[in-house]
């Protein structure tokens, strides 16, 4: 069963696309991650032009994140003030990212820019996760406590100016780190079509020292707004948002997440993280190989120019 994508101007098997959405949703349910960083490369592997893949994944993230934000809102686990600061920085970042994207497109380097960023990001995040999960596993085997992190860390963040009070997080810190973090995540969202939670959540816990219970809700709040704005900006600047593709991915995604969450509950945390690290590394290595191996044809026709 094929369906014609009006913006990508190509036909795809809608069941395959639904399956991709489901699969990535399933993994994000299992591992508790957004999944954007898997969805974009998978769509590119499938043959969707990188520009359309990035912009459309952003719309999928917005669609899938909303209900999560609602749930956290009801539980009172969203720090709206922190979220707002990061959203504003994130919006500026996503505008900058969409601009960078348009420049890359004019230079004919979108493919390279997107794939190179993925290789760096997935490579480093994957390596970090693998390292961490192996360390935890070893520690458990030797009967040591798994988190060797001391609480007496150097708080350079507390020396920064522009301090703000975040009541929900019970923090009194400078606004600069959340702004920088929000900005970076915004740029990543626009250039890579990722939500950025896999970067933001650890940063909020270890850098900003936010209480764990508000981290996920607040990060989702930021991701929702930033991916929505990324979608809109890509639609305006690059005409690369394919609504038909986006809707199929959302449908597959929400169902996948539900099944993934149930299935993931059966696995142990460190097994999860180990598998996750392997998955992230595999996607990164797959993309890296495309750079290193001699292409089948050194000439290529740029689509959607």
């Amino acid at each position: 069963m094929e369906i014609y994508l009006p913006i990508a101007q190509m036909s795809v098997h809608w069941l395959i696309v639904l399956g991709l959405g489901f699969g990535v949703g399933f993994l994000s349910g299992v591992f508790g991650i957004g999944g954007g960083f898997l969805l974009t490369p998978v769509l590119i592997f499938y043959g969707i032009p990188p520009g359309v893949a990035v912009a459309t994944t952003a719309s999928q993230i917005a669609g899938v994140t909303f209900s999560g934000v609602l749930t956290h809102w009801k539980r009172g686990t969203v720090d709206f003030k922190m979220g707002l600061v990061m959203v504003i920085a994130g919006l500026v970042g996503s505008a900058a990212g969409v601009w960078i994207f348009a420049v890359l497109r004019r230079m004919g380097q979108v493919e390279f820019g997107v794939q190179a960023s993925y290789v760096i990001l997935l490579g480093s995040v994957g390596a970090m996760m693998l390292n961490e999960s192996i360390r935890t596993w070893r520690a458990r085997k030797e009967g040591r406590p798994s988190h060797g992190r001391s609480s007496g860390q150097h708080h350079w963040i507390h020396g920064l100016p522009l301090k703000m009070r975040f009541r929900q997080s019970r923090l009194y810190i400078s606004a600069i780190p959340p702004v920088v973090l929000g900005f970076i995540v915004g740029v990543l969202s626009a250039v890579l079509g990722v939500g950025g939670a896999f970067l933001m959540v650890p940063a909020m816990i270890y850098m900003l020292r936010m209480p764990t219970n508000v981290v996920v809700g607040t990060s989702m709040f930021q991701v929702l707004f930033v991916s929505a704005s990324t979608t809109i900006l890509h639609a305006v600047d690059n005409f690369t948002v394919d609504v038909v593709l986006g809707m199929i991915l959302i449908l597959g995604g929400v169902f996948g997440v539900q099944f993934g969450v149930r299935w993931g509950a059966k696995l142990r945390g460190e097994e999860l993280r180990f598998l996750m690290a392997l998955l992230v590394l595999a996607v990164g290595i797959g993309m890296a190989l495309q750079f290193v191996l001699r292409p089948e044809d050194v000439y290529s026709l740029s689509g959607l120019s």
Binding site: P6, G63, Q109, F112, T231, L251, S300
Partner: protein
């Protein structure tokens, strides 16, 4: 160049009056709907007998060319920089976004290379102004032809004209990725290496219905389109969570 040649040919058409050629298409408007998986149009035609020349007038070879709208296309060349393959040089050229040629015999047996080039018959005879950033234009054009052949947009079928006495028929494949725009179908009758009759018929390819409205919406009101996409996504994502609450 080709258009000019064709215009002259059609202008002087009365000169070929003793050898007639008629052709028509199975449809002159191809609409792309959401279930579009590619299609096919058929060109029908007949050679018209002229009594004063006799049965000899029905001899000749037929070439049918279908061209899509010309588009400025960019071909990029990857080079190895520090171990990594990266796009460096590029060339831009105006070439048809779709090209199909069918004939009763291999083109080389029908006319001289010069004639084929003049009418742009055959994938190697497409004339384009190529602006290459590294000087050599030829490999870029060849690469474009290769890429378009791979995606089914360029095709050459030297046995594609089915002929039965005076009637002929050509099936023109239309792949799913067919670009929108106005197309021309040109039918040439060759004898002894010369064009002795020609006819040109237009047809149109466009997205239809829902797809067309979406495409226009996305390009004419991109801000509203972006906002609508996000809202629809949110509604869909939110709505489907109720499905799980019940089950």
């Amino acid at each position: 160049m080709r258009t000019l040649a064709l215009a002259c040919l059609l202008f002087f058409a009365p000169a070929f009056a003793e050898q007639g050629l008629t052709s028509m298409l199975s449809q002159d408007y191809l609409q792309i709907y959401s279930n579009f998986q590619g299609s096919e149009i058929t060109v029908f035609g007949a050679l018209e007998n002229s009594s004063d020349v006799g049965p000899d007038s029905l001899k000749g070879q037929i070439v049918v060319v279908v061209r899509g709208p010309d588009a400025l296309q960019t071909v990029r060349k990857k080079e190895r920089v520090a171990g990594i393959w990266i796009n460096r040089a590029r060339a831009k050229m105006w070439l048809p976004s779709y090209y199909f040629v069918a004939s009763t015999a291999p083109l080389a047996n029908i006319a001289s290379g010069e004639t084929l080039r003049r009418y742009e018959l055959g994938l190697n005879n497409l004339q384009a102004e190529v602006v290459a950033s590294d000087g050599s234009a030829r490999p870029y054009q060849a690469a474009l032809v290769r890429a378009q052949q791979k995606s089914g947009l360029y095709r050459e079928n030297p046995a594609g004209v089915e002929q039965q006495s005076t009637a002929f028929r050509v099936h023109v494949p239309v792949p799913a990725s067919v670009p929108r725009g106005s197309y021309t179908v040109e039918v040439y009758l060759f004898r002894d290496g010369n064009v002795i009759a020609a006819q040109s018929t237009p047809f149109y390819v466009d997205q239809a219905g829902f797809e067309r409205r979406l495409f226009e919406f996305a390009h004419q009101k991109p801000l509203y389109y972006g906002v609508a996409t996000v809202l629809m996504g949110i509604l869909l994502g939110w709505g489907s969570t109720f499905f799980f609450k019940r089950s």
